[in-house]
Symmetry: C2
Subunit: 218 residues, 2 copies
């Protein structure tokens, strides 16, 4: 019974890693749409979000079935609840990618990000993609060290966000209100994607060690 | 055993309603800080957030104890997991109030919101406070009809947000980039508070009826 339970738990983490892979594709494509202004890529992010939503629902049902049928206690119970929380956060990261894609789509055939901010925004999106890619590996490998390292990288996104604000408020900024509003919101979306990646990584640390590496809800 | 379990579940919802009350205070004070530029009110929101965080931790431990000791199945299990999700969302609404308060604090002794946008922003914050107050009642009363009505009001916040964008992008807007960025982010924070209020209300519907009134993660 317990061996079977742990196999099922393993399958659940395998599914979590797969959903994470879908999120990685969403963040990558949303960033591409932002960089290129290609509306078909933006549309793909928006329409594919449904796949992530359905995958989350299936995983939730599997987790509830395990909770009901196996009645886990202690560590196993917390692992299952952590899995439920992780899938909620992964789905949210998908939603945030949709928000990014929608801003890109709204400005077609123009680019949402003016030339003066493209460097900062590109670094932000590369950072977000890298963090999502790493958290997918962390879910699959249950690598605590890698998870703790990911937590340390969160500061990088905060710095990029501050840099984008500094550029917007600089006297040289001349790209208008609409672009400033887009940049502020895009920065917020990428920051939240990074926050969730760190939070999911922290939950993996908790699942493996039974201890939190700090507050997971930054 | 089951009667005792339902008493404990009742106590958990009582605690959820109390935490919701703390969130209502936070949103109300954050709005006041925004309206008045009173830094001590903003500070209070920021420092009191810890109380919400601690209350969440206590409620989570209680819920885990119930899950472990009582081994609920079916509806009871889903109710407990729903309670865990609700407290996560309530805590998040507290965090969003802190974000609002921090923007108010950053602009002291000025007001973050320029005169031209104060009407819209005040309506946004009044709407958010009203939605939070109602969701607290819904948690306490388990009133399904009120919960469904709250869901319908979500559109109101979206309309206010679109109105704020229209004002920012109007040729008459003359309050600069910094205020525009603040308004865009404040609008996002209030919108997320409203989203979470609707989501918590939907979870109450689920707990009472066993059915979702639609997607809860808008």
């Amino acid at each position: 019974m317990r061996a079977q339970f742990h196999e099922q738990l393993e399958a659940l983490f395998h599914d979590l890693a797969e959903i994470c892979g879908l999120v990685e594709v969403a963040v990558t494509r949303a960033s591409e749409a932002l960089r290129t202004g290609d509306s078909s890529v933006a549309e793909k992010v928006i329409s594919d979000d449904e796949v992530i939503d359905r995958a989350r629902e299936t995983l939730e049902e599997d987790a509830f079935a395990l909770l009901s049928l196996q009645q886990p206690v202690a560590g196993d119970l917390r692992t299952l609840v952590a899995a439920l929380r992780m899938v909620t956060e992964l789905e949210r990261m998908g939603d945030l990618s949709v928000h990014v894609a929608k801003i890109a789509r709204l400005r077609v055939p123009e680019l949402a990000v003016p030339a003066s901010l493209q460097g900062t925004m590109e670094t932000m999106s590369v950072t977000a993609i890298d963090m999502v890619r790493r958290v997918c590996d962390i879910i699959a490998s249950r690598d605590v060290q890698a998870a703790i390292e990911l937590g340390r990288d969160d500061e990088k996104m905060d710095q990029l966000r501050r840099a984008s604000f500094a550029q917007l408020l600089d006297d040289d900024y001349a790209d208008g209100i609409e672009a400033a509003v887009d940049i502020a919101l895009l920065g917020r979306y990428f920051e939240r994607i990074a926050d969730h990646a760190v939070s999911v990584a922290n939950r993996v640390v908790f699942v493996v060690t039974g201890e939190n590496p700090g507050s997971v809800d930054a």
